[in-house]
Symmetry: C2
Subunit: 313 residues, 2 copies
C-alpha cells in the first residue's frame, strides 16, 4: 500500500514527490511513462522560473537539478502508464497499462494538459525553438519584434493582447473571417494599434534552420496568395486537451467534479471533491500554466496529503 | 501613475515583479524597506525549492539569483515603508512613511507574516541555525534525530506530528499542563510513541557556538529543575503575526475581506474582495508558507493584474 500515488511527472508531480518524501512519507511512487520534467523539457530557454536565470541552459538542463533533488528524499519512479485512478472504500486503486493494480492511501493526479497543434508544416520541428504555445513563457523573447499568432478564440485574442504590450507588432492569423471570441475581447483587440488581423488565412509553413524558426508563410485560403513573414515568433493558440482520462471510471464518468472544459475543480488546498484525491498543475481550474505555479500546487497537494494521512491515524 | 504597486519584497513580491514586467507592464515598483528576499534569507540551507539543491549555499545566496532575474525586466525597487494601501475611485493610493503618496492602477500586497518568538535566551542568535519556525522547511535536517518543539496550540501539535514522521523523537515543551489544541489533535499526538509531552516547562536557553545550535535547556516552571537536551533541533510554534497593517484604513478597518486570523481572503486567482487588489504569499488564507508556493502566488497575481489592466482598456 503506497502512502501516496503521484500520477504525472512534470513540475507539479516532481514537487509533490519532493514534499511528500521530505515530509516523512515512506512509500511514494510517481507514475510517469516518459522522462520526468514535463513540457518544459521541450523549451530551449527559460527565464521566468525564479532562481533559474542562465541563458546558456535549456529546459532539459533545467529539469536535471529538479530530478536529482526530487528523487533524493526517497521518491520512487515507475515508468508505467496509468489507465485509471479509482477510489475503492477508504483507499485508491491505480490501474496500470496491462491491468496491474496498485493500492494507495492518497493520490495526487497531475497529468497536465497538452496545447493542441494547428497542424502546419514545421510546427513540430520548430516547437520550443520559435514556435510556442505560451505567451507568458516566451513572449518576452520577442520584445520589440513582430510575432505571429494563430487562432481566433478568446484565448488567442487575449494572448495576442498580452503579446502586443511586449512585441512591436502582432499578426493574428485566423482561418475564417469571423472570430469566436467575445465581442468585448474582439473590440479591445481591434482598437490596439499594433495588432493586425489576417483573416481567411492559415500558416502554410514555419521555416528555419538548426538555429530555430526563421519565419512563416501565411496563405490566404480564398486567394491562395502567400505572404512571407521573416524574423517572427509564432504562437499557436488553438486550444488545450486536458489529460484527464485517468479520472474517468469504467462508465466514462469523471470520479470527481470537473468544469465544462474538463479541468479538475479544486480549492486553494488542491483538494478535489473526493477525500484523499488531490490535483496540481495545468489540469486544474484557473491554472496559469507556469512551472512555478505548478510547482507551488505540487507542494500544497503533498502537504495536504501528509495532513490527510495524519488525520486518519 | 504606476501600472502596479507591489508591496513587499519576499519571494511572492519578487516573482510578481518578474511576471508583471516581463509581461510588458512598464511602470511597476516594488516597495520593500529592507533587502529583497524575505524570511528565507535568514536560512542557512534550503533544499525544498525545486531546482535549487546546493548544500553549500545559504538563503542569502539563494536570493541573489532571484534578485538579478526579477529586476532584469524593469522592476523598480523603492526602499520605503508603505503605511497604507487605499482604493480611491478607480485607482489605488499608496501612502509611504512620511506622507508621500503614489498612485497605481493595481496593487499586489505581499507583506507576509512573521512567526512569533517565544522569547528565550539564544532564540534570535540561533534563528536559522538550529532554531526554526517551519517544520516543512527544516524538519528533514533532523531526520532520525531528536527535536524539541515549543508550543501548545493546534499548530504546534500538528507540526510535532509532522516532525514525528521524520525525526527519532519529538519533545514538546509547553508552559502549562493543559493544551489549547483540539481534543482530537491532542489524542493523536498522545498515541504517537515518539512524541513526548514536557508540560509545565519552558525553554530556559538555546545554546551553541559559531556552527549553530548545540542544545537546549528546559526548565520546569513549578520545580525550577533544568533538563539539558543536546544535539537537538528546536522548533518554535507560538503563532504568527500577519503583516496586514497596510490594508487598514484610517478608521483601522480592513479595506478587503479578511478571516478571523487577519489573513486576506482570496480565490485561486489571488483576487481579494476589491477589484484590482491582489495578494500573494504568507498573508493569504491557507498559505502553506513555502518559497515555491509564495512564488507561484506571485506569478498568478501578476498575470491577473495584466488581465485586469487589459480589460480596463
Amino acid at each position: 500500500m503506497l502512502d501516496c500515488a503521484i500520477v504525472g511527472g512534470g513540475p507539479a508531480g516532481l514537487t509533490a514527490g519532493l514534499y511528500a518524501t521530505r515530509g516523512g512519507l515512506k512509500n511514494v511512487t510517481m507514475f510517469e511513462m516518459g522522462m520526468p520534467g514535463g513540457q518544459i523539457t521541450q523549451s530551449s530557454e527559460i527565464e521566468n522560473y525564479p532562481g533559474f536565470f542562465d541563458h546558456t541552459k535549456t529546459g532539459m538542463d533545467f529539469m536535471d537539478t529538479w530530478q536529482e533533488q526530487c528523487f533524493h528524499f526517497g521518491l520512487k519512479h515507475e515508468m508505467k502508464k496509468v489507465e485509471r485512478v479509482a477510489k475503492t472504500g477508504e483507499h485508491f486503486t491505480i490501474t496500470l497499462e496491462g491491468g496491474e493494480q496498485v493500492e494507495a492511501k492518497t493520490a495526487i493526479v497531475c497529468t497536465g494538459s497538452v496545447p493542441k497543434r494547428a497542424g502546419f508544416k514545421g510546427e513540430d520541428e520548430f516547437f520550443g525553438k520559435g514556435v510556442s504555445t505560451c505567451a507568458t513563457c516566451d513572449g518576452f523573447f520577442y520584445k520589440d519584434k513582430p510575432v505571429t499568432v494563430v487562432g481566433g478564440g478568446d484565448t488567442a485574442l487575449e494572448e495576442a493582447f498580452y503579446l502586443s504590450n511586449i512585441c512591436s507588432d502582432v499578426y493574428v492569423v485566423h482561418r475564417r473571417d469571423e472570430f469566436r471570441a467575445t465581442p468585448q475581447t474582439l473590440d479591445r483587440v481591434m482598437r490596439k494599434e499594433n495588432i493586425h488581423l489576417i483573416t481567411d488565412s492559415v500558416i502554410e509553413e514555419a521555416f528555419g534552420d538548426t538555429m530555430g524558426l526563421a519565419g512563416v508563410k501565411i496563405r490566404n485560403v480564398k486567394t491562395n496568395e502567400i505572404i512571407q513573414m521573416d524574423n517572427t515568433g509564432l504562437f499557436v493558440f488553438v486550444g488545450h486537451d486536458v489529460n484527464n482520462s485517468v479520472l474517468r471510471d469504467e462508465n466514462d464518468k469523471f470520479i470527481c467534479e470537473m468544469n465544462d472544459w474538463g479541468q479538475v475543480i479544486v480549492d486553494l488546498s488542491m483538494k478535489t471533491s473526493i477525500p484523499g484525491l488531490y490535483t496540481a498543475g495545468d489540469m486544474r481550474i484557473e491554472a496559469p500554466k507556469q512551472v512555478v505555479s505548478a510547482a507551488g500546487d505540487g507542494s500544497v497537494a503533498a502537504l495536504q496529503v501528509i495532513s490527510y494521512i495524519q488525520e486518519q491515524q
